[in-house]
């Protein structure tokens, strides 16, 4: 079955959120936010609960209107337009399948409302059900299906109007781990096949990175970073993104000297790091933040009584927890200053010389793997607070 791109021309599925603010009474859910999602891309809005991501989705869907600002789809402002005229379709977190209607009638509902006759709409619905491998269940009630099957019905129902943009509100959160992993691949495959824009809201970092072309990390109604999934992971813009997305350790210190595009930085506890700063020439005494990937860190056990080598780009601490993740072991190190530092040690390296909880270790890395972060002292504090809140929920 061919899917026409709704009512728009080529590129009709580009979504623009332009300077949007949304207030609910006293609370500001979204602040002055601008974002462009290219046509045909898979975009994930990622953030802790209450960060405004669902509000953005609902404004694109037309279930909320912005207090100020504009929302455009395919270049045309849709604020105030009824849902059907936007070319969007929404998949709800709870799926919102009509419990009193058969699977077939659920999928055909939008056609029924448009006045399409029974045989025609059932045929079309059957075709879509076949696409999601559910044609056998056409006459069941939603409650008689498993969670994964219900999710596919919801997907088929959303797609029946040939939307330009599919909006997915936490689509995988109601599934168990196994189904969640399978369905996220399935969503990505469907999106590629249809070539329409998907906007997917989630609070799970790995889910966003797994499916999306473009990840938008949000906090407190603002965008912290909007970039490709790879960039979000390997090159977080600031400490908040680095901490929230995970996979990074955040380092900080004050500048002692700068030479050849490298700044020598001293942490509060006296450890010394080198940060690549490129063209920037930070002033002496300025506070800098950097990130280092967890899988770029080597960990070495210190013999009892040995003094740390104390070189550049090392830090010393005690092993706090060990988690075997299969292909690597996650080593959490309590630094002397009470902070946590995480290293992902490849399994073969780890088991050649295993560590134990409580071991004194020295972690070391290469200066060229350190990425400079875009934070000042205040932003850092705020991000740390948020990141803690995010990991708590």
């Amino acid at each position: 079955m061919t899917q026409a791109t709704g009512s728009g021309a080529i590129g009709g599925g580009q979504v623009e959120v332009a300077g949007v603010t949304k207030r609910f009474g006293e609370t500001v859910a979204v602040k002055e936010l601008s974002l462009t999602i290219p046509h045909g891309s898979y975009c994930c809005l990622l953030g802790p609960s209450g960060c405004g991501k669902t509000t953005i989705l609902r404004m694109i869907a037309g279930h909320e209107n912005p207090t100020t600002g504009d929302v455009r789809i395919g270049g045309r402002s849709v604020v105030g337009l009824p849902q059907v005229e936007r070319g969007t379709a929404m998949m709800f977190q709870s799926y919102a399948l009509f419990p009193h209607r058969s699977v077939l009638d659920n999928v055909a509902f939008a056609l029924k409302v448009r006045g399409i006759g029974l045989p025609a709409r059932h045929n079309q619905a059957r075709e879509l059900l076949a696409k999601v491998q559910l044609e056998k269940f056409a006459n069941r009630l939603p409650a008689e299906l498993s969670g994964g099957q219900q999710q596919r019905v919801a997907l088929a129902r959303a797609l029946i109007t040939n939307p330009r943009v599919l909006l997915l509100d936490e689509p995988l959160s109601a599934l168990d781990e196994y189904l969640r992993l399978r369905m996220r691949g399935e969503l990505r495959r469907v999106q590629k096949e249809l070539g329409i824009t998907f906007v997917h809201v989630t609070h799970t970092q790995l889910e966003a990175i797994a499916v999306a072309d473009m990840v938008v990390v949000m906090a407190q109604g603002r965008i912290e970073q909007a970039a490709s999934a790879r960039d979000i992971f390997v090159a977080p813009r600031n400490a908040y993104v680095a901490r929230f997305v995970g996979g990074q350790n955040v380092l900080s210190g004050t500048v002692e000297s700068t030479m050849n595009g490298m700044a020598a930085v001293a942490s509060d506890k006296g450890a010394r790091f080198a940060f690549p700063v490129g063209e920037i020439r930070p002033a002496r005494g300025a506070k800098l933040y950097g990130s280092i990937r967890r899988d770029r860190i080597g960990v070495e056990k210190m013999l009892p009584g040995a003094k740390p080598a104390g070189g550049l780009n090392t830090t010393v601490g005690e092993v706090h927890t060990l988690e075997n993740q299969g292909s690597y072991v996650k080593v959490t190190i309590d630094l002397d200053n009470g902070e946590e530092f995480v290293a992902h040690v490849p399994d073969d390296t780890f088991f050649r010389n295993p560590l134990d909880i409580g071991d004194k270790v020295e972690a070391r890395w290469s200066a060229s793997d350190v990425k400079l972060l875009d934070d000042g002292p205040i932003a850092f504090e705020a991000a740390a607070v948020e990141a803690r809140a995010a990991s708590a929920d």
Partner: protein, 276 residues
């Protein structure tokens, strides 16, 4: 349903007006008779007010021809209190029973539902006939009490279902794990947690009994309850005394409702505070 920008759709105003009219329809006539109960001594059953007085309240107590208001009022209060207590004890127990499946549960449930929707006068007729055939005298405290329980127990049971449906059993399981006996579990955990609902059952038991007429009419025996006395008045009293009696009984009802609702509200507030 509200529109996307948070403003109200036109249907909201339509429905709000509709709802307002319904509330006016519900309360308007009641308010009018409370006002008219303060009618002056020369005033009639409708407006205008010929002055304002307590004349008709006074007549309620002093005039014997309006009937035995004071006596029936006392009987009704006592009966309502007894019904409330019995309803709480019996329907809370029955509610607890239905938390496990048991043989005969369908019978007990449908017995209660049948008792609830059976026309009240028939129940009263049946009870009167039964007492007559058994050679027992009917009385408000015996056959009358039983007749009212056929109405309040099913209500109490339904309220208990609603309350227990929301009750998380893991609290009780936790109590058992911590070594509480069944009785301690009931006394220390279940009953206190269900208290707001139990107060609701008591409220229904009291007010339904206090206002009951259809079931009691044929089963009350020689001495009337207050609603029966008022019912008798409607046919032979054509003065604002009728309104005065209405005002007094409604004040009693409202008093009971307010006491029950504020105690429920106080318990809920304390709990929501301690949860945060």
């Amino acid at each position: 349903m509200h529109s996307a920008d948070g403003s109200r759709p036109w249907t909201f105003y339509f429905f709000a007006a509709f709802f307002g009219l319904f509330v006016a329809f519900l309360y308007g006539p009641m308010v009018v008779i409370y006002v008219l109960s303060f009618q002056g001594p020369t005033g009639g059953m409708t407006f205008p007010l010929n002055g304002v007085s307590l004349h008709w309240f006074d007549a309620l107590i002093s005039q014997s021809r309006v009937g035995d208001i004071a006596g029936s009022f006392q009987r009704s209060i006592v009966l309502a209190a007894v019904v409330a207590v019995v309803t709480v004890l019996v329907s809370v127990l029955a509610g607890l029973a239905f938390r496990r499946p048991f043989r005969g549960s369908a019978f007990a449930f449908y017995l209660a539902i049948a008792s609830l929707i059976m026309p009240g006068l028939f129940v009263g007729l049946g009870i009167a006939l039964t007492f007559r055939l058994l050679g027992l005298p009917t009385g408000w405290y015996s056959s009358g009490l039983g007749a009212q329980l056929t109405w309040t127990l099913p209500f109490g049971l339904l309220i208990m279902f609603a309350v227990l449906g929301r009750f998380n059993r893991s609290y009780e399981e936790a109590a058992t794990d911590l070594g509480a006996t069944n009785w301690q579990k009931l006394k220390e955990v279940t009953i206190p947690m269900l208290l707001p609902g139990i107060i609701g059952v008591a409220l229904f038991g009291f007010t339904l009994s206090y206002d009951e007429i259809a079931r009691t009419a044929l089963a009350a025996g020689a001495k009337n309850t207050l609603p029966l006395e008022i019912w008798a008045m409607t046919t032979n009293v054509t003065s604002p005394t009728l309104y005065a009696v209405g005002a007094v009984t409604t004040i009693v009802s409202f008093f009971v409702i307010v006491v029950a609702l504020t105690s429920i509200g106080a318990i809920q507030r304390r709990r929501s505070r301690s949860n945060t």
